[in-house]
Symmetry: C2
Subunit: 344 residues, 2 copies
């Protein structure tokens, strides 16, 4: 990213902010009025022309104003943006609403994303903690039919994951109950699936486990469940994209976006990288790996318990987004979620 001189920065900043506000190409005269430097529109035109050459701005056509490119937004976000601090009332509103959400962890996450979506008027997505990261509280086995059984995992935070799986041997509910009880009493509490697996392996090695076949099964199962699944993706406020002129003007685009929201596995891919990183992640336009989102931006942050990331909450919207406002909101919401999951 090419460095630009101070005056150009001020102008770029003004262009970005004005464009975010009005969603239309902004001209040199507008900028001249907007910035405190006493500079004529002609000079600004020259600077803007330079910025265009450097790839930070572009003109939709000659004799229109200019629009920041993704690179322009990136420069803005990295070096020019002033992040707005959240006010005490705002913080209170967020924390209060989320903390008083009723229901299980999923309910809390839904409430959080709805709130976030409403406050910043963009679509919001959340990845709920997957079974692999869950610290377990309880496990139940239920026999559904001769070949099928159901496993229900209850996480520390009240999050429930369940999977049906086939078992090739007749087994009674009574026996399953005994196994559930044994596991719950001796193993489950406070461990993750991986730890339980390790434990079972140790037990099996000592050759004293009465239910070794089942345990082996449970092992297989836990391996199969490890990956994130699209069921853990929550989307709220998807219709907020209808408020954005950039989508409304392009119906094909709108349709594509809505389809992505429907096909949640796509979103999972999009947020994948965020799961690994610290802090607020921002990807702008083409920085997104996925074709479908190449003209959208994502602002996301992970929420965590102690040192392991549980999931991600993020905002998806057009590249023209008020990052200075969105970022602190996302950041704080993720913090609140972390706090809640820490306590639970």
């Amino acid at each position: 990213m090419e460095k630009i001189d101070r005056r150009a920065e001020i102008i770029l900043k003004a262009v970005v902010e004005e464009y975010v506000r009005v969603a239309e190409p902004v001209g040199s005269r507008t900028i001249a009025k907007r910035i405190p430097l006493n500079i004529s529109s002609a000079t600004i035109r020259n600077v803007m022309s330079d910025l265009e050459e450097m790839g930070y701005l572009y003109q939709p056509h000659t004799s229109a104003g200019r629009i920041p490119t993704s690179e322009g937004f990136r420069y803005y976000v990295d070096r020019l943006m002033e992040v707005k601090e959240l006010g005490a009332e705002e913080k209170e509103a967020i924390a209060g609403t989320i903390e008083s959400a009723e229901g299980d962890a999923l309910g809390v996450l839904k409430e959080a994303s709805r709130l976030l979506s409403d406050m910043i008027r963009q679509a919001c997505i959340v990845i709920a903690p997957g079974p692999d990261r869950m610290i377990l509280k309880h496990i139940s086995f239920v026999r559904l039919s001769k070949e099928k059984m159901l496993v229900i995992l209850v996480g520390k935070s009240g999050l429930i994951q369940n999977r049906v799986f086939a078992y090739d041997e007749e087994i009674s509910q009574a026996e399953l109950d005994r196994i559930s009880n044994y596991l719950n009493a001796e193993i489950v509490e406070g461990k993750t699936i991986q730890e339980i697996r390790a434990h079972i392996v140790r037990e099996l090695k000592r050759d004293r486990a009465r239910y070794d076949r089942l345990m082996k099964r449970a092992l297989d199962f836990s391996e199969r469940v490890v990956s994130q699944s699209a069921e853990n993706v929550i989307v709220e406020g998807q219709t907020k994209v209808f408020e954005q002129p950039e989508f409304v003007e392009n119906l094909e685009r709108l349709k594509q976006v809505m389809r992505s929201f429907e096909e949640k596995s796509v979103l999972l891919k999009l947020l994948d990288s965020t799961l690994l990183s610290e802090g607020v992640q921002i990807s702008i336009g083409a920085e997104n790996a996925l074709e479908e989102f190449k003209d959208m931006s994502l602002v996301a942050a992970g929420y965590r318990r102690s040192d392991s990331t549980l999931g991600t909450i993020g905002v998806i919207g057009p590249v023209r987004m008020d990052y200075g406002v969105v970022i602190p909101f996302v950041e704080y919401t993720a913090q609140v979620l972390s706090r809640i999951f820490e306590e639970k």
Copy 2:
């Protein structure tokens, strides 16, 4: 609904079918060519003018062709429509896909609605069985914190419902486990919540139940859970509305529809009446009680086990819908679902 003579019926039928096909006002000449009667376009114009007066057709403006009104569609559905029989391959495809769906009952329902949505290219909604109608297989209590506990109900069909609820007395997980075991062993299997409630009440009266406080709680709880909740609504193929010209041409409308899909409680209200009725329910345009859907149609059918309705599967689309095709698809899908839930 006013009766019309045979010739007018043939013309109305032709107008409806042509309009369904092309989504544009249809003119007298088109009809003249389309129907086997040897009638001139002028005569047809006269008949159409009559039909308009009776409220079955209307003109968007003078000198355009005509469009069937909701009443026109209603007349068509009630008296003129030929319902297309499903072919063996189609039936096979539906039954096969749904039966081989993996996962729990929710997975089956999702698969079914996705399939239906894809086949008839309309949005599809399903109401999953609520906890009140569930025949239980298993029940678990999990202590989440001092004040909160989680109840997990597993239905016969593998459907899971869970609720967090507050309990104002410290209680250990071990004790909860004992209670779960007791309930599972003696009561739960094959009963509905109502029946269990009755059983508990009897036990309590006999004054022998050790866990009477908890049981009272469970009673309260089961009362609270009885109503259908928006969480049981599945929507698949919502973006199918983007294929319909009537919505694409009216963005405001499109937005409203998408919002209804998001706000699932609205859909619950819409389908409410269907839960009570037998067979395929069709409501056209303004027949829908809800303002939001006054220019859409709903074709829905309940699925059931023995004599109690479990839920509903339905298709939502523009009034201009090929009812003759949609109806048998919805009907058969509901049948397959009933069969699956019967077996399970």
